[in-house]
Amino acid sequence: MAFITCKDLVLGYKDGIVAEHISFVVNQGDYLCVVGENGAGKSTLIKTLLHLIRPISGELIMEDGILPQEIGYLPQQTVVQRDFPASVWEIVLSGTLTKCGRRPWYGKKEKELALKNLERMGMTEFKTRCYRNLSGGQQQRVLLARALCATSKLLLLDEPVTGLDPKATEEFYELLKSLNREGIAIIMVSHDIRTAVRQASHILHIDKENSFYGTQEEYLQNMDENAPHETTLH
């Protein structure tokens, strides 16, 4: 059974369609990269997957025991976070809130989970440090640890390497790859097609007219076939 199955999804808001004909499947251990131009509907797809907006039509099925709030989401950084006075520990712990249910405080179990994921990201020694004083790469690791507290199966990343220097970017991709090898499915939205092809097992290319979904090899073939055609068009 697949975690997520999308069939002929039409994405958009009340005032119009953003993208259509989107079909893809995410299984356990998959690494799906979502690429596309700005405005092609990548962020709309994220919101739809998180169940923050409804698809206009088509099917979005989540099974295999995944609930919408069990997607480990790594959003883009906001201005607010850059000078937010919070310790690493407070941020990672906030990822376990879903598991608290109606309880207002964190229990022992939540704290253990947060500690485990902090260690997994190699950030244990930064536990009491302030988030705003960390480097970009370290901040992403903290947010990844938080996302892992919310999920054990599926990560959804929105342009995770924006603003990172090349070394930190490389390290972050390595980290993702190792999580993927542990069996966590990954959906990454990116405009960096080159890395996407190198990293991912599957590619979803969102386009107004014809979106593409397939394995990485199929995508490369498809690109080769279309390449001469595209150059004549421009």
Binding site: L50, L52, L67, P68, Q69, I71, Y73, P75, T78, V79, V80, Q81, F84, P85, A86, S87, W89, E90, I91, L93, S94, G95, L97, T98, C100, P104, W105, Y106, T128, R129, C130, N133, L143, R146, A147, A150
Partner: protein
Amino acid sequence: MREMITQLQLYLSYPFVRYMLVVGTLIALCSSMLGVILVLKRFSFIGDGLSHVAFGAMAIATVLKLADRTAFIMPVTVIAAVLLLRTGHNTKIKGDAAVAMLSVGSLAVGYLVLHKFSASANVSGDVCSTLFGSTAILSLTEKEVWMCVALSVLVIGAYCLFYNRIFAVAFDENFARATGINTGVYNLLLAVITAVVIVMAMNLVGSLLISALIIFPALSAMRILDNFKGVIIYSAVLSVVCAFSGIILSILGSSPVGATIVAVDIAFFFIHYLLGAFLHKT
């Protein structure tokens, strides 16, 4: 020195001075706790905006000669707060512009209404005291003090109970929403609490200086501390200290209460600013 102490003892024997101390410290406590969140959410000016709305509402209530003015001011301010904090998505006018518009607009309308229709002989005196809160706090009744205590307990209780969720929503609303937290409810809660605190605080420092109570302790705490819980607790303590010493100073120096408290807040902010610069260098 001894003279000052006897003077203080004399003043403290009056119930209205004791009321002022209780109400002042409670309001300082509540507003500083809220302030941390509001400053981080880039809503530093909402205190200003809402207090002007409260001023406008108060002017209308005065002219209409309503018996219980708070019963009119409170709902109006709460509605304004909800509308302002709802901004961000799907609004035609952006957050800061909306605050500025509402703030200036209600100030003007309030003054206009008071000036044209008020029966009082000293309109500019009335306006001055609502804006700077110099006299209202001296005429607190016991009932008002108890109401203030009850509201403070409510505010602090709600804050403690939802602390973790408030943190999650403030730090990263997108993530919080994705993990199934109903961020709308917490933003609404924040708006309502803000409005309640502001209407309470109007008595103390008047509508012009409320922003100071909200932002100064929070900013001071953020200068020197690196974790959220610490910032909240420290800013609450600092705000109480400032309000308490401000009130005492204003009694001793017979200066206006609100302005004195704010002056103490500013002084402490500078100390923390320097302290922060020193701490982060080493």
